[in-house]
Amino acid sequence: MAKAVGRGIAAIEYPTGMNQNGDPSQAWIKLKMDGRVDVFAGTVDIGQGSKTVHSQIVADAIGVPMDWVTMDTSNTDSSAFCMGTFASRGTFIGGNAVRLAAEKVRSRILEIGGELLEVDAGDLEIADGEVHVKGSPDKKVGMGDIAGFATFVKGELISGQGTALKEYATLDPETGAVTVPPHSAISYAACAAEVEVDTETGDVRVLKMSQVYDVGRAINPTMVEGQIEGGAMQGLGLGLLETVYPYYPSPDHRGSGYGSYFVPSMEELPELECIIIENPSSDGPFGAKSIGEMANNAQPPAIATAIYDAVGVWVTEMPITPEKVLRALRAKEEGRPESRTDGKYIRYDEELSINAVASADSAVLFAP
């Protein structure tokens, strides 16, 4: 029968790194004697692309071509400590660790290059694996010569290590006030969703999502898109499809396979638009902020608002299944108002009110 189209937006923020910090990532780098760069770090690339992104950071931070950089994140014997791939920390905190290590290697290369060229290290720069005097690109020495000189003449391994760590933020249990900022840069995003609601079946189809992400600096824009697109579909799943307990809190009818738990498929894919904003952070590698975790947070409320815009009902339990949409539509038809005004109070969702909780323990009492 009737299909109604609606639009909604949501804006969100998300912090980088473990809450309250204290979560180091470490890396170390050594030069092979032909100047090639070996990076050892413990950050796990779970598909988001951190290993490639870290290699890009190292290549530019030292000044070598990308294919000079080899990264080993394969095991705990050779790699340095990393807290892990979570809390949107891979590019940012792991990236800062490899950047810091690379900067140390770079300055040692410049010092030894200065010895060989008999100039001050401060007058040198590195590009494409060669060290040359600023302003005279012909006065140069290759990094292979520098690394060979270090190894065979000076008896030195050119290496560097980096640790990215922010001080643990202690908090006041009464107020939540913290001693130092409890995270690294905060990223921001917004999502606009356009949906079509079938008022007969309760089905909601997302037609289009436009998404804006401020990532500080897109170190690899394709991988940023990968996060935005993948996150959009997980957000769609959250908003409309996915739950292990369809009648939560009841444990009944729990899905145990793909036939009974709905993972978004290609068929649900709406038109997606990505807008990447680069508002650099002060403390991320090359100005980067994080994106991974936030990428599925903006879609569910944008979809819920779009459904309201389309058919005039708020469904505030997610996923917003056809059954919930139909129940809300029926309640509206039966004349239940969306909110109740009482003095200056405007009360929504009274049927789900806190009373069940509050009645038991005054400590939980919530009486706005």
Binding site: A11, D77, G176, T222, T243, Y245, Y348, V364
Partner: protein, 456 residues
Amino acid sequence: MKVVGQRLPRYDAGAHVTAGTRYVDDVRIPGTLWAKALRSPHHNAEILSIDTSKAEAMEGVFAVVTHADVHKNVHGHIEGLGVPGDEPLLAATHVRYLGQPIAAVAAVDEATALRATEAIEVTYRELEPLFDIRRAFEPNAPQAHDNQNWYPDFEGQMDRRQIRKGDVDWAFEQADHIVTGVYRPYPMEHVPMETQVTQVVPEADGRYTVYSATQAMYFSMGVVAAHLDWPLNRLKFIGGTTGSGFGGKVDTASETITVLLAVKAQRPVRWRWTREEEFLCSSTRAGWHMEVADAITKDGWILGRKMLTLHDAGAYSRFSPYGVTKHSFHHTGAYTIPNLEFNGYVVYTNRVPSTAMRGFGVTSVSFATEIHIERCARAIGMDPLEFRLKNANRLGDTSPNGVVYTDPSTVPVVKAIAEATGHELPADYRTMTAAMRSGDDLPEHLVGQLGNPEDH
């Protein structure tokens, strides 16, 4: 040539399309045994006895492990962060959720391992389960957990996470309207395409090589070492190749038990969870119950917010106290609200423990806050985008914890989404930036709340 900013392919893109990426389940080591777990058939029960003798006697069975084989059976993943451990690796006296592991078996093949788990005899006394976090506080509520039904150890002393900022009573008095709403995201699964999987190889030098799909090699190595009371150099984790995780593979759910089996069997052991185990027994994203009341003025300022959050931890704490703390730090969303009263509880139920999942702690609050913002704006007849811009985080504004924002982008992202959707903003919003509030931009209720971003 600079490469930052370039669209380079993944380092392993070629391997991905030629079957060259070796995931944990693709590692082939001769003589590897299969592992299977015996899991609780009850939501909540006391364990009266466990008898593994029949399973141990079966042909093809090389090892059976229970709680008795674990040096430190109860170890919390984030004990280092002050969250006491409350979850046994293998259940000893109680099972608190359906699917909780009680024993595990390593056998010559999958079918034998499965039969051996069925041969383990466990007797139970069933207890009434608790599923509804809203009932957890009732005096006669079923007991979901060894302790009380909600986490008592925030900062070692508080049974809830609190935020207090400014003067919330003033805000609610001053307000023209108070808008209230309730928001309830349900639990969901990570559904990584690769299920939980570990292979462990006992090496000739007495070390153990652990092929792990963990998202956090060192973290998981620390968890295994703590359970076994081993120095870190007895373990070598080989990882870094993971068939996606989304938070679920921080849990270290298969590594320790597989190591225990390999120690006992002195053979390589592989444990790959089935998809059913992944859906029914692996941790989920939590369910939440959030109540929000916003004190707003008729011209669109949010003066204050009160919020109550109940977080469904499932049967054990895992990362939940951390998640609720993170949630509390971000409960104002992308907006500056100077007067706050937040109370958040980690509540236990007899369901699979919940854990980190993409957006941990904040996905829930984004859902609540953004719908609530829409309702507030509509309640006073204001354009929801303008309402957002007006209350946006700006340079110098402070977070719920009193931290000064140094790179806020609410304004640029909202303006960009307005432009992308053809939403006309009035002129003064079109020229708005994230710059520090001053003059007309500095409303009375934010006076005295500004910090200097240069100080941070």
